[in-house]
């Protein structure tokens, strides 16, 4: 994968062209090229990178002069907390609304929820983000419009989710990020639940005299959760990897903002480190999803 990035960045353009200041002369431009090792042929640059990478060194950012990996890692927490908040929000809201929509299929409540979910999918994030800032941040002044709040350390984890100020800051960006996901979960939950509600086992559960709460909360929910796990797991990766727009709008100091800035200036070491990090994250997520899937669905054998 690092090879893809090398070739890609090479294909996109020359970082030096973007980094040089207007006052630079030809000499400075050449010096920059040498300083960043970009004067070497690409294959040699790549071999050098591989050599260092084997020792755990992914190189230093062209821009920040910091080890790329630690730079990415320092932003990881902020993104993770944003993505987790969004995931929590969208899953809870999405499943709840999806179940309601399934139970009230056909009447106005169900229709309203489904229409809202379509709206949620068709509104681009940058719209919603800006609108939310305008409405809650400026007109009402209820919530802070930008940035991450104060952080606190709890159980060895430093996060802004442990402070009031931090929570206030995370609400708007998390809602923005959660929007599309919520809509997706609503739809998947609803379609799964509608199918489950018409199944024989739900009918049998009713014939057993179970309360509607138990039927929906246990029988239907559990059948819905299984296909949902895969999607939610996937989407979590998506939330992390593609929080780019949200982080840009809310000036959230996470990896998404870092990567978009880095791509804009072709900061190759950071791009490589970011992708390594995200790839690792995906491996972890996939593992967790597979384990969850197995835990939830008894039908999937251990060998698959």
């Amino acid at each position: 994968m690092s090879l893809i990035v090398f070739v890609s960045v090479y294909a996109i353009g020359d970082p030096v062209e973007i980094l040089v200041s207007p006052q630079a002369t030809i000499k400075e431009i050449e010096q920059t090229r040498v300083a960043l090792g970009l004067d070497q042929p690409l294959w040699w640059q790549y071999l050098l990178f591989l050599g260092h990478a084997l020792q755990g060194d992914l190189g230093r950012s062209f821009i920040f002069h910091q080890p790329a990996l630690s730079l990415v890692f320092s932003r990881f927490g902020a993104t993770l907390e944003l993505a987790l908040s969004a995931l929590l929000l969208s899953t809870m809201l999405g499943i709840a609304l999806g179940l309601v929509a399934a139970l009230r299929v056909g009447d106005w409540v169900g229709r309203t929820i489904m229409a809202a979910s379509i709206a949620g999918l068709s509104l681009p994030t940058f719209w919603v983000g800006t609108l939310l800032v305008m409405f809650f941040g400026i007109w009402l002044g209820w919530l802070p419009a930008i940035g991450r709040g104060e952080v606190a350390t709890f159980l060895g984890i430093t996060s802004s989710l442990f402070t009031r100020d931090g929570l206030a800051h995370v609400i708007l960006p998390a809602s923005t990020l959660a929007l599309g996901n919520t809509a997706l979960i609503i739809r998947l939950t609803r379609s799964g639940a509608v199918e489950a509600l018409q199944s024989d086992y739900v009918r049998f559960a009713r014939a057993k005299g179970l309360s509607p709460t138990r039927i929906v909360g246990v029988h239907v929910l559990k059948s819905v959760l299984i296909p949902l796990t895969t999607i939610v797991g996937l989407e979590f990766g998506g939330l992390v990897a593609f929080s780019v727009v949200t982080e840009t709008i809310y000036a959230w100091p996470g990896m998404g903002k870092l990567i978009v800035d880095s791509i804009a200036v072709l900061d190759r070491p950071v791009i490589v480190a970011y992708l390594m990090m995200v790839a690792l994250l995906f491996v972890v997520i996939n593992l967790v999803v597979d384990l969850l899937y197995r835990a939830l669905d008894p039908r999937v054998g251990p060998h698959t």
């Binding site: 994030t125 940058f126 998947l188 996937l234 978009v260 791509i263 999937v300 698959t304």
Partner: protein, 292 residues
């Protein structure tokens, strides 16, 4: 009396569904507009020659310097919004539908193969999927555009690359469950060719989640295209799609020039909504397990 074929029955059920039909009618109307739009538009908004910057930001109903009426107003470069919407509609539909259809085809095929074959093949495909999913859409789009310059086809290719992996993963997970079911065992027992079992027996059972995902994805593709355009790496700025029109006009919303963003927004919403309605209804009538 001959029993009507299942397809016919599904079509009948579709025709009886009020929401499905209204969605289909709106969608059909939009497709017609997109098809004939180039001939009924009063201006060619993609042709810089026909734009006059002195006509910029005129409210709906204004007349241009040379007397032309702007039904829905103009944008910041003096582009007639009515014409721009007609052209943009075609672009958006083309981008959204083409990329999704191709992505679904690729993703489904690979997902089926992965779920069915297992072992090394599955491992290989799923690792590619993971790799793909961890590559940000922006990087993919940026590379493509740098190689070939901005253009509709590049955005489509970028969207396909970004989307296919999702389908592959979903389909694989469905196949994993389906292939243990009795009918598959039965079909295999009959020594039907593997491909036939896969596409004629397993695939139809994957249809319901696929249609839900695909309808959602067309909408997603259209908005993702808009986002790429928002970030400056989407379609060529001279050939705005609905998404790009909205993105361009959105900043002016607060300044009172509402029409630049609102009108394309309404059309985009209608597109996405009707696609979803049709998709939802299709899913319901196609799902054999849901028939009453």
């Amino acid at each position: 009396m001959r029993e009507p074929s299942p397809t016919r029955l599904a079509l009948l059920a579709f025709a009886r569904s009020g929401t499905g039909m209204s969605g289909a009618i709106v969608l059909a109307a939009l497709i017609v507009l997109a098809t004939i739009g180039h001939s009924i538009a009063p201006q060619n908004p993609y042709d810089l020659k026909s734009l006059d910057i002195m006509d910029a930001q005129l409210p709906p109903g204004s007349a241009s310097m040379d007397g032309m009426r702007f039904l829905l107003g103009t944008d910041t470069l003096g582009r007639d919004l009515f014409s721009a919407i007609l052209y943009g509609l075609r672009t958006s539909l083309l981008v959204g539908v083409t990329s999704t259809v191709v992505a679904v085809a690729i993703g489904t095929t690979l997902g089926l193969i992965a779920g069915w074959a297992g072992g090394f093949v599955e491992g290989l495909i799923m690792r590619i999927v993971d790799l793909q999913l961890s590559l940000p859409a922006i990087l993919v789009a940026l590379v493509l555009i740098s190689l070939t310059g901005p253009g509709t086809s590049n955005v489509i290719v970028a969207l396909i690359l970004v989307q296919w992996a999702v389908y592959a993963r979903t389909i694989r997970s469905v196949v994993l469950v389906e292939r243990q079911r009795d009918y598959v065992v039965a079909a295999t027992g009959l020594s039907l060719p593997r491909a036939r079992v896969l596409f004629r027996h397993v695939l139809p059972n994957c249809l319901a989640p696929l249609i839900v995902l695909a309808t959602v994805a067309i909408a997603g593709a259209i908005t993702l295209e808009a986002t790429l355009s928002f970030l400056g790496i989407g379609l060529p700025v001279t050939q705005p799609s609905l998404g790009l029109l909205i993105a361009n006009g959105f900043a002016y919303l607060m300044s009172g020039a509402y029409w630049i963003s609102i009108f394309p927004g309404v059309v985009l919403f209608a597109v996405v909504m009707s696609i979803n309605l049709v998709g939802d209804t299709l899913r319901d009538v196609l799902n054999p397990r849901l028939q009453r």
